[in-house]
């Protein structure tokens, strides 16, 4: 049996992905900065005061992007983990590992900003509502994934265990998404959905979408930065890493 990896895509190997990721990172940072500036401008200066929630509703401009990213990143993480599990490709598992901390951060931010929104609007920082509880479960899934990976010494075994956890946890994502429909929740229903016209003012919608793009670009930049560090850590013994200019170049 040959050990040769089938090159489905040229960039499926850490060696060729590493420099490509390095080239993409500054672009994603630049885009993140541009979208953040425009998004924050709209959030605070263009979007009008909400009739019922006053200025407090402005939390939406980070709450919704963080919540969307937490769910989306989970799906991407589970997909990479699943590919790594089934095809045994090194880079896929590294990607899953690189996504998890950023996903956990997004899940935390969605809970945190949600609490700071819930307190003035509902009078409580936290309620055991279906939406909030399932979002908390998502945060714990990220933490569980990270803890499991950290607890197993052999990285390839850690990848496999993590992948199974990530794949089982995917069931939670649609539960979060439709929780406001399936159960009687305190959390409001979706303001933006694929099925019907959004139920919010156009400027507010634009602010939210541009802030979401900013979060996207931030997440892409961060995940690529982290995956590059992971590649170096895991491939430390390979010749291509030893011959990298940043390793060879200025050995003091």
């Amino acid at each position: 049996m040959s050990n040769k990896i089938i090159h489905w895509f040229k960039y499926a190997s850490p060696q060729s992905f590493y420099p490509l990721a390095g080239k993409m990172i500054p672009w994603f940072w630049a885009l993140a900065a541009v979208f953040t500036v425009i998004g924050l401008w709209i959030s605070f200066f263009e979007a009008p005061t909400d009739v019922t929630q006053g200025e407090g509703y402005r939390i939406i401009f980070i709450h919704v992007p963080a919540a969307w990213m937490s769910m989306f990143l989970y799906c991407v993480m589970a997909a990479w983990a699943g590919i790594g599990l089934s095809l045994n490709t090194r880079l896929s598992s590294m990607m899953a590992q690189a996504i998890a901390p950023t996903g956990a951060l997004m899940a935390f931010l969605s809970l945190w900003t949600g609490a700071f929104w819930g307190k003035p609007m509902w009078g409580a920082w936290w309620v055991w509502d279906a939406r909030l509880t399932s979002a908390l479960v998502l945060f714990f899934l990220y933490i569980g994934f990270l803890a499991l990976q950290a607890a197993i010494d052999d990285p390839r075994r850690a990848d496999k265990a993590g992948a199974i956890l990530a794949l089982v946890g995917v069931v939670n994502v649609p539960i979060i998404y439709w929780s406001v429909k399936w159960w009687n929740t305190l959390h409001q229903g979706a303001s933006v959905s694929l099925m019907k016209a959004p139920t919010m003012a156009t400027t507010m919608l634009w602010g939210m979408l541009i802030m979401s793009l900013a979060f996207w670009m931030y997440a892409l930049a961060l995940v690529l930065m982290r995956v590059r560090a992971i590649i170096l850590e895991r491939e430390a013994l390979t010749d291509w890493v030893k011959n990298l200019p940043e390793v060879k170049g200025n050995a003091q």
């Binding site: 200066f45 005061t49 407090g56 931010l109 945190w112 929104w117 430390a236």
Partner: protein, 60 residues
């Protein structure tokens, strides 16, 4: 424009604590994360360079 003065902007119509509590923590964490990742990269690069130096000394 929604705000008459900087003080009005900070007050956020009485929701200052909640709005800035959200945006502040969000900004803080999103500044911290790239710093931590850079540190992780620098740590592995340092050890790789040390390795490289040790190998080149061995050869001499």
């Amino acid at each position: 424009m929604n705000w008459g003065s900087p003080a009005e902007f900070l007050a956020m119509g009485g929701y200052g604590l909640y709005v800035w509590g959200s945006f502040g923590v969000c900004a803080l964490l999103m500044i911290m994360e790239p710093i931590l990742v850079s540190k992780r990269r620098n740590a592995i690069l340092r050890s790789l360079r040390r390795e490289h130096l040790a190998e080149s000394l061995d050869k001499q």
